[in-house]
């Protein structure tokens, strides 16, 4: 049992992060080095600078999708924005950002309230968004007929991460922030993680293992669309 805990808690994170960085960089590099003749769609931005601005609009606001499928735009935009919010929020789990926030003038109570309020709401909203995305995928024929196992699995994996995350926040046994920070500090300094108390929390273990699994598959899956979007829009709007 200790070996399993060690592999999942002490080895997997390193493997996942290395695989993610190397494979993502490789894939983006292979995209970048290819010849890219323009194939302009009009109305097109007037110059390269305007084109870059348009790409940013696409990446941040999903501009094209807004015109194409307003309902999906709503689901997807909320999903991604809240995901970003949750990503930022997790910094507090890894390390002590509280002191930075305090120097910025926030009281300890205010930080706790923000974490509980905004963080808690985010956990619920993203769960709803994920369920809606999955329901849409299964309910609409035009989406269902092009859906493969990988598309469903990606949503289920994300769903499981969200559910275990919410369990830690809303469950009876609230997880211990200090222990988690200690664990990540040890990981980051290669201090060894055996005997870390955080790993005794089963829900935390499942949540963390699934999250690192997700990180590891990203470069091999469609989830890398967050990198590709910066290339593909530029191509079809380049003058």
């Amino acid at each position: 049992m200790d070996l399993v805990r060690f592999m999942l808690g002490g080895v997997l994170p390193y493997v996942a992060v290395v695989v993610f960085i190397v494979a993502t960089a490789h894939r983006i590099y292979t995209w970048k080095r290819l010849a890219a003749p323009s194939m302009t769609l009009f109305p097109a931005p007037a110059d390269d600078k305007a084109n870059k601005k348009n790409v940013l609009k696409e990446a941040l606001l999903f501009r094209s999708l807004f015109g194409g499928d307003r309902v999906l735009w709503g689901f997807a935009w909320v999903f991604h924005v809240v995901l970003l919010l949750i990503f930022v929020g997790h910094l507090r789990v890894f390390t002590n950002v509280d002191s930075i926030l305090m120097t910025a003038g926030m009281s300890a109570e205010a930080i706790q309230a923000m974490s509980g309020g905004v963080g808690g709401a985010a956990g619920v909203v993203i769960l709803v968004a994920t369920v809606l995305l999955l329901a849409r995928r299964l309910a609409l024929p035009r989406v269902r007929e092009i859906t493969g196992a990988a598309d469903i699995l990606a949503l289920l994996l994300i769903g499981a991460i969200i559910v275990t995350g919410n369990m830690m926040r809303f469950g009876a046994e609230h997880f211990d922030l200090a222990l988690t920070r200690e664990y990540f500090a040890n990981l980051a300094t290669f201090g060894g993680v055996t005997g870390q108390a955080a790993l005794q929390n089963e829900v935390f273990m499942v949540h963390m293992v699934l999250a690192f699994l997700l990180i590891m598959v990203i470069p091999f899956s469609k989830i890398l669309h967050f990198g590709g979007i910066f290339f593909t829009h530029e191509l079809v709007r380049k003058h």
């Binding site: 290819l34 194409g68 007929e145 196992a149 469609k222 593909t232």
Partner: protein, 443 residues
């Protein structure tokens, strides 16, 4: 060719997509399967079936790509959406890859800007390499490469048609309006689609009248060898054919010593010349510039050099943006300038310009009468609705393929709506020596 060779050829060609161009590779690796393309596709609108779903069509090639080029595909096969190529599927491909009109509307709304027409063309290229281009399309390419035009018309037929047009114009206006042929040193070389000489010739008359009114009748020319900008190599996915066809025209322009190649009302012809040949310098530096006749005329209208009698075009007129002019070349305002100047009741159809729906005959499909049921009952359905909503009795459009599709579509659905070009309307209303044409009905 043996089955093994066929398989190897197709698989190797799909594997090579990882080496670019960038769009090709990224379209293989990027789709999130959200279904937005299907909801904006004219074909899927006409019939919501899996085989018409753009993402599914592209997946025909993607599955093979994944099988051979991705780690997940090699490891997990079908589970990761990967499947090997089966030569038995080719016959089905012949149908499916000619059920996309290449209109690029999907790319306008895809959250990642994926342009499925690129993959449709790849699918057609694979078929073409195997000699499996549908007979109707293969024939057009062959005729065009042999005769320089897609109608297979010879010089005598061309000259006879031009003579006829000159007589018509003299009848209409009582003055001689010339259409110069093979004039070396003329600044403007007009390259229409052959349809605008042989089938719906009013557009060419319109252009001739513009030059006449401007007093430039001696400064433009047509060519008795090159009077058809249409280039079906774009549609069969054969780059070699596309370039060979294109070279005839570029060489002729150099031979004539032209300063401006004035492309006619033909969307894909202009797109190939302007957005492909010129932009990526197929033949190096060009001694002439390339513009479209609608740009040329619209400028002259804005300058106040042309005058019209709008009462000659009383009926409600709408404009259908050909995909290759609107979405792919950004020519959207010029035809409107011409139509608003020459028609009493111009109406927009919605959506329009870059967002316009395809006529249902794009990508060369318009020339394929073997799939006419598909064009009338599936790919053209949305366009029919759009036209009906305008209440117009004349649909103007700047593309021979759109014209053919729309004419058949409206006839098939028993609508009393005329179809024609942009310069056609100009030709009916433009004042020559202060008078518009005394026009007969053309049939």
């Amino acid at each position: 060719m043996s089955e093994n060779n066929t398989k190897e050829q197709v698989v190797e060609s799909i594997k090579a997509m990882k080496d670019g161009p960038r769009a090709m590779r990224m379209y293989m690796e990027m789709c999130v399967k959200c279904g937005t393309c299907a909801s904006v596709c004219p074909v899927y609108y006409g019939k919501s079936e899996k085989r018409y779903n753009p993402a599914e069509r592209t997946d025909l090639i993607r599955r093979i790509y994944r099988k051979h080029n991705t780690l997940s595909g090699r490891l997990f096969g079908r589970f990761a959406g990967a499947e090997d190529f089966d030569p038995a599927d080719l016959e089905g491909w012949q149908g499916i890859f000619y059920e996309c009109t290449g209109c690029r509307r999907c790319a306008m709304f895809c959250p990642f800007g994926i342009d499925h027409s690129v993959i449709t063309r790849k699918g057609r290229a694979l078929l073409d390499k195997l000699g499996m281009t549908p007979e109707t399309m293969a024939r057009v390419v062959k005729i065009s490469l042999e005769t320089g035009n897609t109608d297979g018309a010879g010089e005598a037929a061309f000259r006879a048609a031009i003579d006829f047009l000159e007589e018509e114009m003299e009848d209409e206006h009582g003055v001689e309006i010339k259409i110069p042929i093979d004039v070396k040193g003329a600044d403007y070389f007009y390259v229409p689609p052959s349809g605008d000489v042989l089938v719906n010739p009013e557009a060419t008359m319109g252009v001739a009248k513009v030059f006449h009114v401007l007093g430039m009748a001696d400064n433009w020319t047509m060519s008795s060898k090159c009077f058809d900008g249409a280039n079906y190599g774009l549609f069969t996915g054969n780059d070699g054919d596309m370039r060979a066809d294109n070279k005839l025209y570029v060489d002729e322009a150099k031979e004539l010593g032209t300063k401006v190649m004035l492309m006619g009302e033909c969307g894909h012809a202009y797109r190939i010349m302007k957005m492909m040949m010129e932009k990526t310098a197929w033949w190096g530096e060009l001694p002439f510039e390339i513009i479209n006749c609608m740009q040329w005329t619209a400028e002259r209208i804005k300058d106040g050099q042309l005058a019209f009698d709008k009462s000659k075009n009383q009926q409600p007129v709408t404009y259908h943006d050909p995909c290759n002019f609107g979405r792919s070349c950004g020519i959207t305002e010029e035809p409107r300038v011409i139509l608003e100047a020459s028609c009493a009741d111009f109406r927009e159809m919605h959506p329009n310009r870059g967002d316009n729906w395809c006529c249902g005959g794009g990508g060369g499909l318009s020339a394929m009468d073997d799939i006419i049921d598909f064009r009338m009952e599936i790919s053209g359905v949305k366009k029919l609705e759009q036209i009906r909503e305008t209440g117009a009795t004349y649909v103007s459009t700047a593309c021979s393929n759109c014209k053919r599709q729309l004419t058949q579509l409206l006839e098939h659905h028993e609508e009393q709506i005329e179809v024609g070009g942009v310069h056609d309307m100009l030709s009916r209303a433009i004042l020559v020596n202060g008078k518009a044409a005394e026009r007969h009905e053309y049939v």
